[in-house]
């Protein structure tokens, strides 16, 4: 079904094939079908995600990109029915017997609006660890410092770690939320429009943070901002009508997309 040919000999879909000998694939979806009730919301999205890269998911509202993203760490449980395989390091995590909390520890999620807990910055970052019974102050201090530094917000909050995280600016709060996701040492970071509530300066800082983080993590980001996808990501997936239409290197998608529909969308001639 993949890479079929449409009008003008341009393909209707194009999905990038990674060379398995040269690339380490962290996550992969196979035969994924996602239903809200009886409505098929997402299908035709056999995608692979390469370790230590940033992949951007773009597409109009309702195209299925957020639905797809949420499936990757089982956030659709109880909301939608997810059929097919979601392979994380070769293991299908879309199995009922899989520990969903362990999945979410390894595959962290950061949301559109910064959602710090009504707790101190320190407790926000250490919340998950404390819940798992880690109370050693030295260990927690270390985690707080490391993750806030990774999220590039340490210098701004190091003197006010006991202040409520709700008092932070949007950009700072979002980076504290990233630190919170990093505290449990995930492999994969999923971000659902993490900059849409931020001003340009905070957005730039967030993007710089993500570029740093990709050295250690595999990052998948949903964004409505095509310039952001262009300047930030290594790979881009274009979704439309619940299907992955084109998946290719970002440079290709924004200069010479294979599929006409992708061309129309990234050029703003869509619909």
């Amino acid at each position: 079904m993949q890479n079929t040919v449409g009008l003008n000999n341009k393909p209707k879909r194009f999905i990038y094939d990674f060379n398995p000998e040269e690339t380490e694939i962290t996550m992969q979806t196979k035969d994924l079908e996602i239903y809200y009730g009886k409505t098929l919301a997402m299908h035709n999205a056999d995608l692979q995600f390469q370790k230590n890269t940033i992949t951007a998911l773009i597409g109009p509202s309702g195209s299925g990109k957020s639905t797809f993203l949420r499936a990757l760490n089982r956030m659709n449980d109880g909301v939608a029915t997810v059929k097919g395989e979601i392979l994380y390091q070769g293991v299908d995590i879309n199995q009922p017997k899989i520990d969903v909390y362990e999945v979410r520890r390894r595959i962290g999620m950061v949301f559109q609006r910064p959602n710090p807990f009504a707790k101190s910055i320190y407790d926000n970052v250490t919340f998950a660890l404390q819940r798992r019974g880690i109370h050693d102050k030295k260990t927690l201090d270390q985690v707080v410092e490391t993750t806030l530094k990774q999220a590039a917000v340490w210098d701004q909050v190091k003197d006010s770690l006991n202040k409520s995280a709700l008092s932070l600016s949007g950009g700072q709060a979002q980076r504290v939320c990233i630190a919170r996701a990093l505290a449990v040492q995930p492999d994969v970071l999923l971000l659902d429009e993490p900059a849409s509530a931020l001003d340009p300066v905070s957005t730039q800082q967030l993007e710089a943070t993500l570029r740093e983080l990709k050295k250690d993590y595999t990052i998948i980001i949903v964004t409505h901002n095509m310039q952001q996808a262009a300047r930030l990501s290594d790979y881009t997936v274009f979704f439309n009508m619940g299907e992955a239409i084109e998946y290719n290197k970002t440079r290709k998608v924004f200069t010479r997309p294979k599929v006409q529909m992708t061309d129309d969308y990234v050029s703003g001639n869509f619909g």
Binding site: R211, A230, T255
Partner: protein, 218 residues
Amino acid sequence: MGKVFDEEIITLKADFMKLGALVGEAVTHAGQAFVDHDIQKAQAVITNDHDINHLQIYIEKRSFEMIALYQPVTGNLREVVGILKAVTDLERAGDHARNVARSVIDIKGKERIASVEEIIATMAQEVSQQYDKSIESYGDADQDKAKKTAQSYDKKIDELYNDIAAPSYQAMAKNPEIVSSAIIYLNVAKDLGRVSDYSTNICEWTVYLATGKIIELN
């Protein structure tokens, strides 16, 4: 614009300067080959022209990508657009150097005029210097140097062209045997003149890079 763009523009400019050096070498070697009747050197210039063309295409492709991916504005836009425009001038200057190298092969075994070839030697040296200074001015975004370079060579190069053309025509009128060589001299002088024109264009792009103004320096 951010660190990634800054890093990429440094690489792009480094590639552009590398192309500048390759073309500079082609111009110098083609002139020397003509003066020294050095077929081997001329052949090397012709062969290396492929590298020049490949690098030019690569630089153009990277420039397009940078515009598409980063949508640069103001000074950043001038960095990319300046390279995109000037890279064409470099490649064409390279083509004319290759033409001079071909002339070295064409003129082999033909009757020659030593006095004209002396002037060609001078013109080749002057054009080579002008080209080098133009590229330097672009590398340093030095508009003063660019303006000075364009203005100081313009008249000199025109005069040298005429100094080659006039005796070539006279020789042709006197001796039909010399026609084919004289035509080659005229072509070489014209090719060198074109390299000089492209050097001036590069100086104009230097002014654009530094100020955003598009001007004619001649």
